[in-house]
């Protein structure tokens, strides 16, 4: 039986991410790799929106 994929952990650069819709910091990392390699995918617990966060500032 193959173990399940791990929940991704936030790298140090992504500790202060805010929701791009409501500015909440109550967000969870969904995927370390988003629509392009330079993005991570987050979900906001406050407004239930998904948003991309650009890795390199």
């Amino acid at each position: 039986m193959t173990p399940e994929s791990p929940v991704p952990e936030l790298p140090a650069q992504a500790q202060d991410v805010k929701c791009t819709h409501c500015r909440s910091t109550d967000v969870v990392l969904v995927s370390l790799f988003g629509g392009s390699v330079s993005e991570c995918l987050f979900r906001c617990n406050a407004c239930n929106s998904f948003f991309h966060w650009v890795k390199w500032r």
């Binding site: 173990p3 399940e4 991704p8 952990e9 790298p11 370390l32 991570c40 390199w56």
Partner: protein, 255 residues
């Protein structure tokens, strides 16, 4: 190195950066082949992302080497299996999902250690490129360490066995103690190869401890290590691997 006027220092830098780029090229090829083995959509997504990053890094490094005469056609299409300078560890395909995660983690650690030695280089283009590669690689480590923790709790014996044998293979990349270190001797990088080997091993061990398993060092013989290619094997890439990773449709890709 292509036929351009160059100094021994240029040659040393060219050789080392090409080894990094080619290792990323072949690691990207590994990911391309192993995408269907992803355990969940998140894994497909991660492997696709890492593959895209490695191809991008390889191509950026090839573009950097254009100043030494390397053309895109030579970098991507014209070289034979004998001329690809990827790390020996990638010659042997992953035998399982655990092996894929372990091997990818070790290759990323080693390549990251070497490219980071150029982060403060006097050549601003290479320094910034090294910084970007390091930053992206942190996201790869985050994904890989997540899997290492899962495997340490569910398949510890297999994980430790593979980690030991693959660490030995990865250590070959740095060459035997006392081997020549021309880039350092000629002032192309500050850190010695021995220091980087030690840093690589220290980081790999620290990751293992953080993920809940033990990494044992098992040095493989590296007597035939060849500095310009950082390889022990002189036979080039295995034919099947080369056939799978080489770019085939030049006429479609060339502008």
């Amino acid at each position: 190195m292509p036929d351009v006027q160059s100094t021994p220092a240029d040659q040393a830098r060219y050789d080392e950066i090409l080894c990094i780029a080619d290792t990323k090229l072949v690691l990207a090829g590994w990911h391309m082949i192993t995408i269907p083995n992803g355990r969940a959509i998140a894994d497909w997504n991660a492997i696709c992302g890492m593959m895209q990053a490695h191809y991008g890094h390889a191509r950026a490094l090839y573009a950097y080497l254009a100043r030494y005469g390397l053309t895109r056609a030579d970098a991507e299409w014209n070289r034979s299996a004998m001329e690809i300078r990827s790390a020996d560890i990638l010659d042997k395909p992953p035998s399982s999902w655990t092996d894929l995660i372990v091997s990818t983690h070790l290759v990323e650690r080693a390549v990251s250690t070497l490219i980071c030695a150029y982060q403060d280089d006097a050549d601003d283009q290479l320094a910034r490129l090294a910084g970007k590669i390091r930053a992206e690689t942190e996201f790869h480590f985050s994904y890989l360490k997540g899997w290492l923790k899962v495997l340490a709790s569910s398949r510890r014996e297999e994980l430790e066995r593979l980690a030991t044998s693959r660490t030995g293979a990865m250590l070959q990349w740095w060459g035997p103690d006392g081997s020549q270190d021309t880039p350092h001797a000629l002032g192309q990088r500050q850190l010695t190869r021995k220091q980087m080997r030690s840093a690589f091993l220290g980081d790999a061990r620290a990751d293992a401890v953080a993920c809940g398993f033990t990494l044992r060092e098992e040095s493989a013989p590296a007597a035939n290590w060849h500095q310009p290619t950082m390889r022990v094997s002189r036979e080039g890439l295995p034919p099947r691997l080369f056939e799978q990773i080489r770019f085939k449709n030049t006429e479609l890709a060339m502008p």
